[in-house]
Amino acid sequence: MELSLATHAVGEHTVLSVGGEVDVYTAPRLRERLIELIDGGAHHVVVDLGRVDFLDSTGLGVLVGALKRLRSAGGSFALVCDKEPLLKIFRITALDQVFPLHPTVDAAIAADSAGA
């Protein structure tokens, strides 16, 4: 239910695992953490939404913010998501055409490394 945030490194990539509800109340904490990571030097960020129960427009806004920040700094940003209800949210908002979306962390890192 509550937002959970955990980071680990996989080679060049920083993986942020998000759990719980990402909404207008908790999204500021996600934004803060992403900015911290990026300001702290993370250049290739993968956000794993695997344990997210709820995601709203505020959460999506924060994710797009991080994508733009990294792209303009020459970095990369990708999302991991394989739950149909969440994928539907990305399709309905056309954000599936904005984010690189992958079913697993490994796939996200492989695709990002190949593209880099």
């Binding site: 207008v24 109340y25 709203d56 427009s57 999506l60 806004g61 733009k68 904005v98």
Partner: protein, 145 residues
């Protein structure tokens, strides 16, 4: 026709309360289980929008939510902001969404409307009957078979 009314100070934390109540009342009204995720999301988006507007305009007045159960499950979310809102907003395309110049707030608003329009088949956005403000009205089929 059973009705539940909820009003709350315009703070983000109470949006969760509104979602909780909206889904609980929907379930009791007999809305299909597989629609409840949409109900949760739509009520959340409508309330998030209302809270954002009240904060933007410095309004301490409560956001008002009314849930009623008469044939269909109808939820009205009412704000008191002095704007002319409507469903006119064109959905943002992927190119616009990815543009540097689009602020996070503007993007969130656009995405919020896209979610409302995408998930709620029976949706109306219109000025309130009395005074200043906008009403977002959503309806879902209900009633235990």
């Amino acid at each position: 026709m059973a009705t539940v009314k909820l009003s709350f100070s315009p703070a983000p934390v109470h949006v969760r309360t509104a979602r909780l109540v909206g889904v609980a009342v929907a379930r009791r009204a007999g809305v299909r289980e597989d629609l409840l995720d949409e109900v949760r999301l739509a009520i959340g988006e409508a309330c998030t929008r209302a809270v954002a507007l009240h904060r933007q305009y410095g309004l301490a007045e409560p956001v008002y939510v009314e849930m009623s159960d008469g044939g269909s499950y109808t939820v009205r979310v009412v704000d008191r902001a002095p704007i002319e809102a409507g469903l006119g907003l064109a959905a943002l395309g992927p190119d616009e969404l990815a543009k540097e110049s689009l602020s996070e707030d503007a993007l969130t608003t656009g995405v919020g409307f896209a979610l409302l329009a995408g998930f709620v088949e029976d949706l109306q956005v219109r000025p309130v009957d009395e005074g200043v403000g906008t009403e977002v009205r959503m309806a879902w089929p209900a009633g235990r078979a």
